[in-house]
Amino acid sequence: MSTKTRPRPATKPASPAEIRRRPAPAGKVLVTMLVCFLVWGLLDARSLRRAAEASPIGARRTAALAVLDPLYDLSRVTGLDAVGARASEAMGRDPNQEPGGPISIPPSTTGAPPAPITRGGTGGMRLAGGGGIPLPPPVRVPTKQSPERIVVVGDSFAIGLGLGIARDLNTPLVHLVQQGRESTGLARPDYFNWLAQVKADVERFRPDIIVAMFGGNDFQDLVVPGGRPVARSDVAVWTALYEQRVADVMHIATAAGARVVWVGLPPAHSPVLPPTGVQRMNDIYETEAARFPGVEYLSSWDLFARDGGYAAYLPIGGKVTQVRESDGVHFTFAGYAYLGRHVVGLMHSILGLKT
């Protein structure tokens, strides 16, 4: 260990251009970094504060907001937050939008305009409870000019599932819109409001079928806009509130005339999704699906559980295949494809999808 070695330059100059480069002392670098983050913080305070608000409830979120609240106030007082807001607007974003940003709308591969459909329900947005909603009409026979419209919604499970379904629905008679979004769910409407998004989706796409898969991020305290969060340990209240949100999604979809395939959660091997949480949420999905005409529940637990619990490998088509990622939560692509095949099978057999 050479404690008496004389300090040496970090880098040796190697070219005339580098010789002209002026090295900086550590103090100057520190000032540069502090100014940089202060300037960025002031210019982008609105986005930073919204991201902090959306983070999981706890000490980290409290500390982040304690730092960012005064910064945001200062940014507004000085008018600097307008720079960040204008920059966001220039990118076509609403500076006050949800932290995840808008869902991208993929262009139709057929070019055909969506045909009008008959609403099977009230058409209004009366939420909660499936009573009074008649059975939606049978899924119509699609044509190339007016393909079947299927929208996939939900968390990161839905992103992979959407790709799995796409592999099995390779037909010009289907227009598949994938609206899955990472790190979202029904627990945190302050982060991403799926009720509003599903409502927007049914109005925009007028789907024949909605495939929903939620719950990957939902076993946490439920945020109530303008109210106190409901702890997941408060089982009765938590269950009632979560049930209400699931029912609201089903109601919005079926009231607009769409059939729904609600895919339950698989067994997981992760503290994020303990078996009790998965069981609690699956019971809610299944119960609510039974209450709503036009909603079919698909148990991914039954498809992916072995010996009553988590299994990373399954025999598929005579070959042992890894179906779960090493995080113990998500599926591998083979897993999503397997699940997608079953969803498509259900759409064909029960919903009468003809493609």
Partner: protein, 473 residues
């Protein structure tokens, strides 16, 4: 802890302060840097910290045993133990599932039942990188290229957080001497560091993320839904995405190390300007290429034997290099393809030498060489990114057959790919001038410039940051 996150910004601010305050006190500085690096690693999963410690202990004990052994056979045994320990860890955590499933399916198809329990082993982030560093250290001590470093110096070397999870793969003789010297706090290369860090952030947060979400992910996810042009552009897009992602990460790593007074080796040198397969591997993931050359290709015999042996060695090296990237047949096929490319390149060079054909010097032919090399590399990326060899085959066929509307091929997608590739042809002196000019500015002006640039990057990029592609490897 991902680099482009607030967590890391706070972490690095604290480390920067502690690092320079403790710089005059080597022992305290080394303890501090070890603790900081282990905290950085534990951020992913604290349970995996013991693996890093185990690799460090195996490598250091192995090298000390090599140095202490009196006989060549004793040295060799110690070296094999050090290398084997690291390789054993790597194989268990990275390849157990792959080989167990492959054997299981083979035995099932022969009607023999199962052979291994199908355990799912978590892949610890960075294990491929730090075990390779441990192996190179033990082998270098065995070869007499370097001597065993003191324990604490070696611990700092292997866990040094800028290179820990995705390289560059640094040799002990490159970093240990820097650890043993005091760094000069008056001579930080801020121009170069800022250029690398902010450029890396742009590549990762803006370029890589945009190309991935705009075309690569949708097309590779459901290739049958996409036209020939979409698939072709998605393959070029992936070439750009993986370059922007990985080189962006290593640029940030090298820049951060510079702010701490350390110089890490370069990892990329405009790889898509390569004129041949061999040239590509001199420019792409350079620290892995030289590792494979020095610790795999050369021990296999390199080019010292017959032509046939050289070809064999090239193929073995590249197939194992492919397997290093991941436990899947697609990676094996990718490595094999590059091995074939290197063999064909050697054949051509040998023929040119025999016939005294000089390398072309006219820009047109050089351009053609670059074009075809890029196409070959992209063929490799198709295998690399596809979820199976069958899917890669389907995509390849569709490139020639599935002509139709291509709504995903937008001017912005083409611009992003074009800018990414075009930037590699810029003169190397250009960034040096930018860096030199930046270094002349006052701290306040530098801070404002970097803050505004950060706003631009975060505005252009998506919310949230996807993990770096090479964290999986």
């Amino acid at each position: 802890m991902l680099f482009p996150t607030t967590d890391f910004a706070i972490f690095f601010g604290l480390v920067f302060l502690g690092h320079w305050l403790l710089n005059p006190y080597p022992l305290r500085w080394k303890l501090f840097m070890t603790a900081a690096s282990y905290v950085f690693y534990a951020w992913w999963d604290p349970r995996l910290v013991w693996l890093l410690a185990a690799s460090t202990a195996i490598s250091q004990l192995g090298s000390l045993a090599v140095a202490a052994a009196k006989t060549p056979s004793g040295k060799r045994a110690a070296m094999i133990a050090g290398v084997g320990g690291n390789l054993g860890m790597l194989c268990w955590f990275k390849y157990y599932g792959f080989f167990a499933v492959s054997f299981d399916n083979m035995l099932r198809s022969a009607g023999l039942g199962s052979a291994f329990p199908l355990l799912q082993v978590t892949l610890p982030v960075g294990i491929s990188f730090y075990t390779f560093m441990g192996i190179s250290y033990v082998v270098d001590v065995y070869r007499g290229v370097t001597t065993p470093a003191p324990w604490l110096d070696f611990i700092v070397y292997q866990s040094f957080f800028p290179h820990l999870v995705a390289g560059p793969i640094v040799r002990a003789r490159e970093l240990v001497p820097q650890i043993q010297q005091r760094r000069d706090p008056r001579r930080i290369d801020i121009g170069r560091a800022a250029y690398l860090i902010w450029g890396g952030l742009f590549k990762k947060v803006v370029l890589s993320s945009f190309i991935a979400s705009a075309i690569v992910d949708p097309v590779f996810g459901a290739p049958r839904d996409h036209s020939a042009l979409e698939i072709l552009v998605a393959v070029y897009g992936y070439a750009m995405q993986i370059y922007a992602d990985f080189s962006g990460y290593t640029d940030i790593a090298i820049g951060i190390a510079l702010l701490l007074g350390f110089k890490l080796p370069q990892n990329f040198d405009a790889p898509y300007t390569a004129r041949s397969e061999q040239d590509f591997w001199r420019r792409w993931h350079m620290t892995l290429s030289r590792w494979l050359r020095d610790y795999l290709y050369v021990p296999l015999g390199g080019s010292r034997g017959s032509d046939a042996q050289t070809y064999r060695n090239l193929l073995i090296t590249m197939v194992l290099g492919g397997l290093w990237h991941g436990a899947a047949w697609t990676f094996v096929a990718w490595g094999f393809l590059h091995g074939i490319g290197l063999c064909v390149g050697k054949l051509r060079r040998d023929r040119n030498e025999r016939l005294s054909i000089p390398e072309p010097t006219d820009p047109w032919r050089i351009g053609l060489q670059r074009f075809w090399t890029f196409q070959f590399v992209c063929l490799g990326w198709l295998l690399f990114r596809a979820d199976s060899i069958a899917t890669a085959g389907v995509m390849l066929v569709r490139i020639f057959t599935a002509w139709g509307p291509s709504p995903l091929v937008t001017p912005l997608v083409l611009l992003a790919i074009g800018v990414g590739i075009g930037a590699q042809y810029l003169p190397k002196r250009l960034p040096q001038h930018v860096e030199a000019s930046f270094a002349q500015l006052t701290a306040a002006v530098q801070g404002v410039a970097l803050g505004v640039t950060l706003l631009i990057i975060t505005t252009l990029g998506p919310q949230g940051v996807a993990p770096f592609i090479y964290f999986r490897f």
